[in-house]
């Protein structure tokens, strides 16, 4: 679940959740880092945050940076790192501009400014550049969001990932699809998979198709449709979908094309039991829910998600809302989590030596976090074994903010009721 460097900047992005509201982030940034400097702290520990705060992913990047910052503010407000005499944490800030070489350069700058741990960077491409740098400079790097499996396959000692891997994401999709169809007692036979022809889209759909084939589920993929990122027109693709007579669509999309796809499915009157996203943006963002209104109803997506009931989320969300006027979303919540995990490791390490931080990161067992999933533990590759996805469905509700609901896993569900098969798009 990730994206790569941008040239055709357009829809080459992903936004797991962006909450509407246009408060200036300038206000938020004015509060950055102030407390740690003024209070004659015994000692400051610097953490480097690299996020894409400018460029096409600016909104996400700024949310993620704020997530990192608020976690650190929370720790500082509660006495800092006790094992080091109440040492305060300070977030030093970097901007990747969505470019690997810039991300690397910024990470190097932050290390130069004294950062003992790095956190970030939302995109897998940038993550790879920083991961190698972290290994070169021997500084631990905790990835809050970045999903490509390969990043942790190199056996790097200094690299950890809080986010779910792309492989884990696909496995979740299949598990939930099975649960949903079995619970409904309805088994779609013909399926169409659509995906954007970019690293994320190709990788996801490839993995999904492979797992689906091996799953023994009674569904056959009768058509696979790929289209370039930033496409302006999907009418031909939807005509082909219609001709394939599918029962269900598995779309892997980005934000712009999901709108075009859905409108075109409506216009061309394509009969469907439902839309089930194996794990891509485009189907639950506030703008999407608002603009598409009834058309958006009943679509389901498997996605790493926030856990609104957790105390950690409620704390983080309150601070986030105050600072930015927006709600904590998946990305910013994972950013929040990443910084919390680092603080937890520092607390147990009682030292800022790389060796000690690495040791305590490996021993992490951290449950007080704001996202759907178990306690965070890292395996020998540095991946989080507790990472989980959720299945969310858009359900009718007068309040836009309440339409996106977790339906699986049961432990986290906000609605018991999974609506499948769904009414046709034009009969709502």
């Amino acid at each position: 679940m990730e994206k790569k460097t941008v040239t055709r900047a357009g829809m080459n992005r992903r936004t797991f959740l962006k909450v509407s509201g246009a408060a200036g982030l300038g206000v938020a940034s004015a509060t950055f880092g102030v407390p740690s400097l003024l209070r004659a702290a015994p000692k400051t520990i610097k953490i480097g945050s690299i996020q894409p705060v400018t460029g096409p992913l600016a909104v996400i990047g700024q949310g993620s940076r704020l997530g990192n910052q608020l976690a650190i503010d929370y720790i500082n407000a509660n006495g800092g790192i006790n094992s080091m005499g109440g040492a305060k944490l300070e977030l030093v800030l970097g901007d990747s501009e969505s470019k690997p070489e810039v991300g690397r350069q910024e990470a190097d700058r932050l290390i130069n400014e004294g950062a003992v741990v790095l956190v970030g960077p939302f995109q897998s491409g940038v993550a790879m550049a920083i991961a190698t740098l972290a290994e070169q400079r021997q500084v631990p790097f905790v990835m809050d969001v970045a999903a490509l499996d390969a990043i942790t396959q190199k056996g790097y000692e200094h690299v950890f990932r809080v986010f779910i891997t792309a492989g884990g994401l696909v496995a979740g999709a299949l598990k939930y699809y099975k649960t949903v169809t079995e619970a409904a007692g309805v088994h779609p036979k013909r399926a169409v998979v659509t995906n954007t022809a970019d690293p994320f889209g190709k990788g996801m759909s490839g993995g999904f198709l492979k797992m689906l084939k091996g799953s023994g589920l009674p569904v056959e993929v009768v058509e696979r449709i790929q289209y370039p990122l930033g496409i302006q027109d999907l009418s031909a693709e939807v005509a082909r979908i219609k001709a394939a007579k599918p029962d269900i669509i598995f779309p892997i999309s980005r934000i712009g094309d999901s709108v075009i796809l859905l409108r075109e499915l409506y216009k061309q009157r394509v009969d469907l039991m439902g839309i089930f996203g194996p794990g891509s943006p485009g189907w639950y963002e506030p703008e999407f829910v608002k603009d598409m209104d009834k058309l958006a109803f009943y679509s389901m997506t498997n996605v790493p998600w926030i856990n609104p009931e957790s105390p950690s989320y409620q704390r983080g969300n309150a601070a986030f809302l105050k600072a930015s006027g927006k709600n904590l979303d998946t990305n910013s919540a994972y950013a929040y989590t990443g910084a919390l995990v680092i603080a937890d490791a520092l607390e147990r390490a009682g030292s800022t030596k790389t060796k000690d931080i690495l040791k305590s990161l490996r021993e992490t067992n951290y449950a007080d976090h704001p996202v759907v999933g178990g306690a965070i533990k890292f395996n020998d590759k540095g991946d989080n074994t507790g990472a989980l996805t959720a299945l969310v469905q858009i359900q009718p509700d007068p309040d836009l903010l309440k339409r996106v609901r977790i339906v699986l896993p049961k432990d986290f569900a906000q609605s018991e009721n999974i609506i499948f098969p769904a009414p046709q798009l034009w009969e709502r």
């Binding site: 900047a9 829809m11 992913l57 302006q232 027109d233 031909a236 005509a239 709108v259 598409m292």
Partner: protein
């Protein structure tokens, strides 16, 4: 068999309808190239500006993009005139490498200005006819696409009449044929160039309006449309206006 031919007809109709709009975007590019020999690398970004203006008129005043089209075209006309007056007029005699850079920069500025003004969100307004479609037997005709096509053809036609009949249009054709000759017979070539760039801009702004009901708007889609227009113009022959329309339809169908 029946299924296949239905699909084929369906695709053909969709392609032709969209091709009309591509053609309209490309006509602006072609006009500018034909008159001044300049490739407007900011063309798609100018169109996106038009889309945003149209979007906000719709959101704030509730006026449908088809109606605000004239106002939007006028706004982009002014934008085009300003760009020509401040930048493009000064680089006409430069080598091509030097001509490319300012226009790419203008695109970069417009794109990031849109980002700063309106944020990176994808916006897809629910216009009145946005989701309507008509059915001819098993064939679906998208209403907003049909309107876009018809309006694109009308605008193209008007531009042709303008170039053929009006004094200004004749001057533009003269200046594009032979700059020195035009100067000699007393045509104010600078003014003609300003007008040509502005008209080229206005047509792409109008095309932007026609696309508002069809696809989500975000600051970064301009680049793709510059490329699209570029391909259309190459298909139809650089500087050839009718070719641009034909090229647009070809590309629309090919996609």
């Amino acid at each position: 068999m029946g299924m296949d031919s239905t699909l084929a007809v369906q695709l053909l109709i969709q392609g032709v309808l969209l091709g009309g709009v591509y053609g309209l975007i490309a006509i602006g590019l072609s006009l500018i190239f034909g008159v001044m020999g300049i490739i407007n690398f900011a063309h798609g970004q100018m169109m996106v500006m038009g889309m945003y203006i149209s979007y906000w008129i719709f959101v704030l005043l509730g006026i449908d993009p088809y109606i605000s089209l004239v106002a939007v075209a006028a706004a982009i006309f002014i934008l085009g005139w300003l760009i020509q007056y401040t930048v493009v007029n000064r680089i006409l005699d430069y080598p091509e490498a030097m001509q490319v850079l300012p226009l790419v920069s203008i695109g970069l500025i417009l794109e990031n200005a849109a980002l700063m003004l309106w944020g990176p969100d994808h916006r897809s307004p629910q216009t009145a006819l946005g989701l309507d479609s008509m059915w001819v037997g098993p064939i679906m005709v998208d209403t907003s696409r049909l309107i876009a096509f018809v309006l694109a053809i009308i605008i193209t036609f008007l531009i042709f009449i303008f170039l053929k009949k009006s004094n200004l249009g004749k001057c533009i054709r003269a200046a594009s044929d032979n700059r020195t000759g035009a100067v000699l017979v007393g045509i104010d070539v600078d003014r003609i160039y300003n007008m040509s760039f502005a008209i080229g801009a206005a047509t792409t702004g109008a095309a932007g309006c026609l696309l508002v009901p069809l696809l989500p708007i975000s600051p970064h889609i301009g680049h793709d449309f510059t490329l699209t227009a570029f391909i259309v113009v190459i298909l139809g022959g650089m500087g050839n206006l009718l070719g641009a329309l034909v090229g647009g339809v070809i590309l629309g169908v090919a996609e």
